[in-house]
Symmetry: C3
Subunit: 259 residues, 3 copies
């Protein structure tokens, strides 16, 4: 049982679980079963979804037990969109759906970051899956050289939401080197501005694995911004950044209060 | 129970615990409770203090159990200086002291890396806390653009020691990108030279999270240099660097002995 | 007990254990005992050898128990070549052999990455140890400034194989910054081409700790290339890269199959 949390500092408020604002999607890149248990025991309050990155679930021994660990701590697990893409490319979407049913997985990611999936087929896939489970659509390409124009991002995000996606994940890759980032990890700020100008940010989840990227989004959209691809080791750090308990955002949240 | 350690190689000697020279301060950036247990069981002999980085303790479920794990292995835990800074800024130092008492924490860090704390107030805070616990003062700023002049470093270190700090931690941040380092992690060698020329290095703890930084300080000050912000995963590596069991320092310690 | 693995996708085949092609050598840089247990329970199927990096074994409390964990999961442990080099330099090879016997270690690495060991002495050492255990020879230097010419690599690899080494490990360091790589991690492609032109790649193990390096070797030599210095956290990722379950190699393995 967790301790009674301390309460003597003035901190910005955070949405409690279950929440649709201020969500943290963690990426499991091949955590051991015990690693997943240790993680959940310690930080499940701060995690809203765990995504088993790309096709890693397909190569995870003891997958069922791992999924059970996440669920037992109130955190729904999801498989990576790359697996959905490959299944689609091989004409195996029904087989994938059956496997998700067997595994009891209720969340699915539909992306088009690698496979050249025509937009209308992606929308159709989202629509079909949204009838039976919670769909997170991902927009953006994993190729760092792909510099999709902002208006295309906006159009694809709209299409995904219209097709029934609960929220749209803005691509950043597991290392923060593509999609809304330049290859060196710098945020494509003009792109983010244009997306946020057109779409309600509460419907967006920004993949932000690097600390500087997390800081950028917290500074821009506040404590309760939705971020994804958070490394398990960084969950506590992110939570402190969200409320000004780490140097990088301390003055942002607490600077003006100084007597 | 650990094995009987091997003893067939000639290695430089290392101060045994408890020690004031050659100390290793580890940074806990949000380790799980089980992660802390695993770490301690394996490397407690090589760790002198664990610092729960910045304000992470304030967001650590099961904090009391984690602190107990560290103490049970003979390693005193400490909270990050950023928490002290925030408490000071909010006028909550007494509340922080009460919390430290409740938690049974006997070590405290006083820094001024983020909050603009006037030097005389910092000295007063060190003095006040030094009357009741072991104080590590930190000198240096977390902003990588802050290039405080060497004479200021020396003056602030002296003030902190005069005020009662046990040792002074030279800022490097958790990623080794500020304080005594340039933003790319390179050591500000002129600065280190000037500090070491004026202050007994045994009273200093150099934050050195990157391997190249650890190597620099071991080459400069020997096996028993004091270093901090060591990642839990790097404790064994550091210990091997200290005695020439890793490539980077092997010839330094063993080169001349060659027949 | 692991789950029944899924089987609805078409994936390139992988050699099953025990194998001499497509091997994965993992580097243990100071994993805790529990960390080693967690790792093995989850990924032992994908790991062929664990190397306790450099001289870390010499500073590992509970070393015997850790070795036992690896062996209990069918993974032979090996000590790092740097330890062999230091023992050789101090005239303590017999002491090292005795220690390996006590520890029940049947694999040994003979390198010359740090210590200036004359080629004929290295060959003699390989020959002597190959009479009693499985020898992996390592070729290449750990100094990133050492740019050994390709013909020297080929000659040294040949000598090591002729002396009785089972396979030859091509140096890359634990961080992928030397040997077959430039300091920034880029592959020395001309060097790799020349080595592979002269030597059967099944006799080679390429140290490839960075994902981009793993991708390079998988693209060049296929799913069943031998790679080493894989971080424990990256074992699952590597296994997915080997069969096109991660973006970086998905189109490589699955692109042509698209209807």
């Amino acid at each position: 049982m967790p301790d009674e949390p301390p309460d003597f500092l003035d901190l910005p408020s955070r949405s409690p679980k279950p929440r649709s604002r201020g969500v943290t999607h963690v990426i499991d890149k091949g955590l051991s079963l015990r690693g997943a248990e240790a993680l959940m025991e310690s930080v499940c309050d701060y995690v809203d979804v765990v995504r088993l990155g790309w096709g890693s679930a397909y190569r995870t021994r003891e997958l069922r037990r791992k999924l059970e660990v996440y669920r037992a701590h109130g955190v729904p697990p999801m498989l990576g969109g790359t697996l959905t893409e490959l299944a689609w490319m091989q004409g195996k979407v029904d087989e994938l759906r059956r496997w998700l049913d067997e595994l009891g997985i209720e969340h699915v990611e539909v992306s088009s970051g690698v496979v050249p999936m025509p937009p209308e087929e992606k929308a159709a896939l989202i629509q079909r899956l949204a009838g039976e489970r919670t769909v997170y659509a991902e927009v953006g390409e994993k190729d760092p050289r792909a510099l999709m124009a902002p208006y295309r991002w906006v159009a694809l995000i709209r299409e995904a939401l219209d097709a029934g996606a609960t929220q749209v994940v803005c691509e950043g890759r597991a290392d923060g080197s593509a999609g809304v980032y330049r290859p060196d990890g710098e945020v494509r700020t003009g792109l983010v501005d244009e997306i946020a100008h057109e779409i309600d940010v509460d419907r967006l989840i920004f993949e932000a694995p690097q600390r500087a990227q997390q800081i950028f989004f917290i500074e821009k959209f506040g404590s309760d911004v939705n971020v994804g691809n958070i490394d398990p080791a960084d969950v506590v750090s992110l939570e402190t950044l969200r409320v000004g308990l780490r140097a990088d955002t301390l003055m942002l949240f607490h600077g003006e209060r100084r007597a």
